[in-house]
């Protein structure tokens, strides 16, 4: 599955995208757990999984449209994107 990271999240991770091999279907929470291991040099995904799934570190975004809850499922053909948290406004 292809996963993209929007700037400035990409800067913190040192990468704009990555791919993971994962059983299908997979939940967003499971993807985040994999990413926490992959990017263990930063706190980005570690903090994002703490305290439930409150998107105050990043927000997940499926196929360019939907914000997700932790138990939402993804297929291999889905494109998942993480963007910086959108607060304030």
């Amino acid at each position: 599955m292809r996963i993209r990271f929007a700037s400035p999240l990409a800067k913190r991770l040192g990468s704009g995208e990555c791919t993971i091999d994962a059983p299908q279907p997979i939940t967003v929470a499971e993807v985040v757990a994999i990413l926490a291991g992959r990017f263990s040099h930063t706190e980005v995904f570690r903090d994002g999984t703490a305290d439930g799934f409150v998107p105050y570190v990043w927000m997940a975004f499926k196929n360019g449209r939907y914000l997700l809850n932790p138990d939402d499922r993804l297929e291999d053909t889905d494109e998942l994107e993480f963007i910086p948290p959108i607060m304030g406004g």
């Binding site: 929007a6 700037s7 409150v54 998107p55 927000m59 406004g89």
Partner: protein, 617 residues
């Protein structure tokens, strides 16, 4: 009873008199304070048919019971009046510490009545309200007014003032507190009402503490949530509201090119992250707030010097996204000019984007509108920062083309005529802020039904489609922003809760930090000694919302006004994160009216009025 001084000041500028009355326990229990009390006082002291810029329009400053307490995010005050921009109910809130100090002076609110022909300012301290001549201040900008009044009354006073725009009754004028810190009651042209009264400023001073009914219990309750607030607002602390701009652009929420373009990759040049890296000097906080979402910046560029408040998301969204200006230094200067003149950055940005749109489409005769030729460098073409700054001066000074733009896009479109209305993005006369209802269906319903016209904060529903929950009304997980079902009831209940926040005077950004209705009910009870239940709180919020609606109905508002610009309802964004989506407003509105207990024209039914004890209004 904790939380209140139980005292309201009245200033009649026609008669040059000051008086006061007790704020009763019943008024506090029923209307809480802030927005609720303000709406009640507006109905009490005026009829909806009045001229907003005439002597009969009261200008009401209120605090809430939480204002000035140690509750996080409670350093806020409300301003309520009939809006000259929209001609309906008008209100705006501001943070900082002016409300805290007003309360510390001994009053829960000040009601300004009448008008004076010679400029005056008020000095409120130790339970005393004095009226002073302001002739020497008239004409000064916000920063200079603040400095001059501190010079006169000492550095510890806190000032709410209008700038040259308010004096000239520009219909998008603001009331700004604390000078260059620029905590602003921004929307609806409330500064023009203050200017129409000849009131330049209200200076407050005092040190009276807010009485707290059960301090220990309140401290324990706040402490229990402190770490969660700290953690969940980390991004807001680090990058401010501007930090969300890349995300907002990515989800198709920004008003790019006056709402016509779906995406704008240049957004990163003006983001909170770029601001932090290039000009940020620090973070500033409103009174008692642990978050501190506001930025201070220092910048010297070819546009001028700035040393003060940095631009917020809305300002970046309107001057940046809507006008396609990707120059952070220029936008920072635009923000500075708006703060000095005292004009709303949202409405000003919207008016400039409107003009750029008209000019590109050939819908406007610029020379005729301005009354003189416009220099080539000031032509309103997309992305022209010099034109933006020149137009801000024109609006702030009410000169040339600025005389028209400063009246807001609805009136400006009427004056220009032809197809100009196609480029005017407003609801009920209030320019749309920098959030696209095509990116959050709930925002469409929120804008259409907000009592002050297009506003993202009167329902705040998008908080719950990004990062917040409200279990008390069934929002236990983040909502899908494109959902089409169950919009009416959720929007109504969230508007009721936002009425409560605006009445207690608690910052809505605390909702990101895990604050919910149970928490605020507990805090309010600990503070005041009342025994509100969550259900009763929801009914109070509903009562307040409906009272404002009743005021608007008497101003002529009905079903036909609960709508959005045609473009937003019929033209999908062509690309980006909200491409193709159109909010199903008609269906949502029907559901909403039912949830509210309103008839088909949006009027509260007799049963609803009786249930909410609003029959006398």
């Amino acid at each position: 009873m904790g939380g209140y001084n139980n005292k309201l000041a009245y200033v009649n500028l026609t008669a040059n008199t000051v008086s006061w009355r007790m704020l009763t326990r019943e008024e506090c229990r029923t209307w809480i304070g802030g927005s609720g009390l303000g709406a009640k006082l507006l109905c009490e002291h005026s009829s909806p048919g009045i001229d907003p810029l005439g002597p009969d329009n009261p200008l009401i400053f209120t605090t809430g019971p939480m204002t000035g307490s140690f509750i996080p995010g409670a350093g806020r005050h409300q301003v309520v009046t009939k809006s000259p921009l929209t001609g309906i109910y008008g209100e705006a809130d501001a943070g900082g510490k002016w409300g805290t100090v007003l309360k510390a002076s001994g009053y829960d609110g000040i009601i300004i009545l009448g008008q004076t022909t010679r400029p005056v300012y008020l000095y409120v301290h130790d339970g005393i309200v004095e009226i002073f001549d302001a002739s020497a201040l008239w004409g000064l900008d916000i920063y200079d007014t603040d400095a001059a009044l501190k010079n006169l009354h000492g550095p510890d006073v806190t000032v709410a003032a209008i700038g040259p725009a308010g004096e000239q009754q520009v219909l998008m004028a603001t009331i700004v507190t604390e000078g260059r810190k620029a905590h602003t009651a921004g929307r609806g042209g409330l500064g023009a009402v203050m200017g129409s009264k000849g009131l330049k400023a209200i200076v407050v001073a005092g040190d009276r503490p807010v009485p707290v009914h059960d301090r220990q219990r309140l401290e324990r309750s706040i402490e229990a949530l402190a770490a969660t607030i700290e953690k969940r607002t980390a991004a807001l602390q680090e990058f401010g509201t501007a930090g969300g701009i890349t995300g907002f652009e990515r989800i198709g929420d920004m008003p790019v090119k006056n709402w016509s373009q779906g995406s704008w990759p240049a957004v990163e040049k003006i983001s909170g992250q770029t601001m932090s890296a290039t000009m940020k000097t620090g973070r500033s906080k409103c009174q008692s707030c642990p978050v501190g979402c506001r930025r201070t910046v220092k910048n010297k560029s070819r546009y001028g010097s700035v040393d003060g408040a940095g631009p917020e998301y809305e300002t970046l969204g309107m001057f940046g996204g809507a006008c396609l200006i990707d120059d952070l230094e220029a936008i920072t200067q635009a923000n500075e000019l708006c703060n000095r003149y005292g004009i709303d950055t949202i409405s000003t940005g919207a008016a400039i984007a409107f003009l750029m749109d008209l000019y590109e489409k050939g819908f406007v005769d610029l020379e005729k509108l301005h009354g003189a030729p416009i220099a080539p460098g000031h032509l309103p073409v997309w992305g022209n920062a010099e034109a933006m700054l020149w137009l801000i001066h024109a609006i702030g000074r009410r000169e040339g083309i600025g005389r028209v733009l400063g009246q807001g896009v609805r009136r400006a479109a009427e004056i220009i005529g032809g197809r100009a209305h196609e480029c005017a993005f407003h609801v009920k006369g209030l320019e749309m802020p920098a959030h696209d209802p095509r990116a959050f269906n709930s925002m469409a319903l929120g804008y259409a039904t907000s009592n002050r016209g297009a506003c993202h904060l009167q329902g705040g529903s998008y908080f719950f489609e990004k990062a917040a929950t409200m279990p008390e009304i069934g929002i236990t997980k983040i909502l899908d922003r494109f959902r089409t079902d169950n919009q009416g009831d959720i929007q109504a209940r969230l508007q009721d809760i936002m009425c409560l926040m605006d009445s207690m005077k608690l910052c809505k950004f605390l909702l990101y930090g895990g604050v919910n209705l149970t928490v605020i009910t507990e805090w309010l009870n600990c503070l005041t000694g009342f025994d509100y239940t969550v259900e009763e709180m929801l009914t109070i919020g509903e009562r307040i919302f409906n009272l404002k609606r009743l005021y608007n109905i008497r101003c002529g508002i009905g079903r036909a006004d609960d709508t959005l610009p045609r473009h937003i309802l019929e033209e999908p964004r062509p690309d980006g994160g909200a491409a193709g989506n159109l909010p199903p407003l008609a269906a949502m509105l029907q559901e909403y009216y039912q949830a509210r207990g309103w008839d088909g024209d949006g009027r509260p039914s007799p049963d609803t009025l009786a249930r909410l004890e609003l029959c006398e209004y």
